[in-house]
Amino acid sequence: MRSSVREQPTIVCRCMDKTQEDLIKSLQMAIRMFGPEALEFENYRRLATATTGFCQGRGCLSLVQRVFASEMKKMGIEFDMDEIQFRVRSPLQPVPLGLFARRSLEEV
């Protein structure tokens, strides 16, 4: 029989095209590199590149954090969600550079 929808990968980070499986693999690698004593979400997201694309986490941050936290828990690593310091930052919408450019270099 043909495969069902279940075999389709679950895409979590759309900008960087990361599936749930990719994220779990990256987490295992991140743990190997940093060790459970050192790894924080910020290091993980850079290594996995999830949340670093066009939306800068505006669309996927909570999903990626959830994968991170639940997998850490499965591995028996204690991790307090309050520790996660990564937040969405300005500008809230992409803005063209020209909008902020002053006329002369003396002004900045």
Partner: protein, 622 residues
Amino acid sequence: MRVAIIGAGVIGVGIGRELSGRGVEVEVLEAAYPESGASGRSIGVSSVQQKDPRLARLAMEGIGISREIDRVLKEEFNMPTGVMGEQVPHASIALSEQDRARLSRYFEYWRAAGAEAREMSPREVKEELMPWIDEGSFVSAFVTFSDFKLMYFPLVSSGIMMIRSRGGVVRRKSRVVGFDATGSRVRAALLEGGRRVEADAYVVAAGARSAELAAALGDAVPPIRVAQAGALVTEPYKYQFRPVVTVDSKGYRFTQTLRKEFVASVYDMGYDNEGFSVDESLRVLERLATVTVKLFPSFSYMNVLRQWGAYLDYALDGLPIVGWSQKYENLYYAYGFGNYGFSVGPAAARRAAREIADGGRDPELEPLRPGRGRRGAAHISGPLASRAMVLAAKLFRLRAPLRPDVLVPKLRDFRLEREDAETGQVLVEEIRGLEYSSGFLSATVLKDRPLVFRRRDDLVKTVRTIEVPFHLRLEGGEQLLLVLAKKGLANEVASDLSRIMYGSPKMIVEARLSHEKFRRYFEGSMEDARVIYFDQVDLPNVGVLALYGESLRDSALYHEYLEHGKIWYVVVTLPSRGGLTVGVTRNAIIAAFGRATAQDLVDFAFGELAGLLEEPGAGDGE
């Protein structure tokens, strides 16, 4: 041997990696998470373009070390990306002839360090390196060819991996809040939550927070200034923009990452910012946008996705601080790497690790010692010197004459440490850069102030050092002091100097201008006056009278006002001094407007204002 390292940035992890390679057991303690400070906010350029010949040498040496790490990662750790990224041309842009003169000095350092480098004209830059640049926007570019764009996150994470593979450990959320020290040894580092970490030696590599840790130990280290910095990243665009572009006069760097986004950073927005505010983020963004669009007008459509900030720690002389503490025999410092931790860090870390593990003193690190420049006339030069120029000043008189041969040694050796009652930090006041010739003395007072600000959820305690240049006229007329600062700070420095010179705070007093002489002097240049304020007005319910704009042209009004009050403040353009525009009050506060330099102000104060003072002891009824 067991070493505890405080700080998991590029320096702390770098030293840890080198130490563990020498068989040392390493524990890295990080307050937040690895590379949470300046290291994680960098745009990832390793550059030989340093502003000091010794730093340029270390940066060149670092290339070899990075190559070696790159090879080890690829061959032994199965990390195919390595750390080296791509070797690219790096163009330092001179916007003006003044920039060019300064950069050409640095250029010699880069060449002397062995970098392939050449000066290119705007046209050559456009044709050979980047067709997008506006060749009319700059006068020249100094280009090196040995720099590289790092695969920057792996530089710290691979270091952690190497430390772990050799039995060491890196711990996040392990904030050092104090030390247990007896005599000349540190016994333990105390962590938040009560844990003690004991080791044979301790390394402070906590970047902008290092001074705070030194203060907790009561150890005097060279003061650092925490500079605000920031960066942005755009969407990815399909250009092949390989070079790195730096505009040092704007503290600006720009390149395209290996992922095709453009990144721009500004590595110095000034020192006096006590924590980020929305306004300051906007200032950072405006500077980044303005410089980018000026150089690359066609990039003005690029969408900014994200902006972030950083704190960079710079020592006053621009050199990092690397070496054993002068107070504790098992405490080592490595901080103050400002914006060049990725460039100078690898070589400094290797040399520091050698000293920590094997003993001995590395001559190449001698200029970077924590004890350097604490006495005598360490001269401040380069960009910090120009930043110290304040275009406000106040003139004071010395109440009792002093002989230069007595005074000069007194000021030259001056250094005072005291503990701040509230924060327990060691505050230093010292005089540097003293020069004396033919009756004129010039020097700079460096004064620490405790600075507490909030960063994220923490209260950060650090020290801010204020630089106040001053000039003394000791011969050729009445002895006068000119302090280059706004009036509040100028008064404070004058009374400090009085204490140093006379042992009493009241021997240096405000110089006052004689009203008659003041009036006559400025009536000579009435056509060029911009504003005149009158005080001591004898009309009921009138505090101050002012003349400006059109009303200034009415000389009848001027004479009428003069009958009722005294001239308090005048702003005037002086054709006799090359069009210098100054504001002067009767108590000798001077402000210079426009493009005046500190030298203009000094010449004006001693050359002109000194002749307008009241006779000592006299007063005109104030």
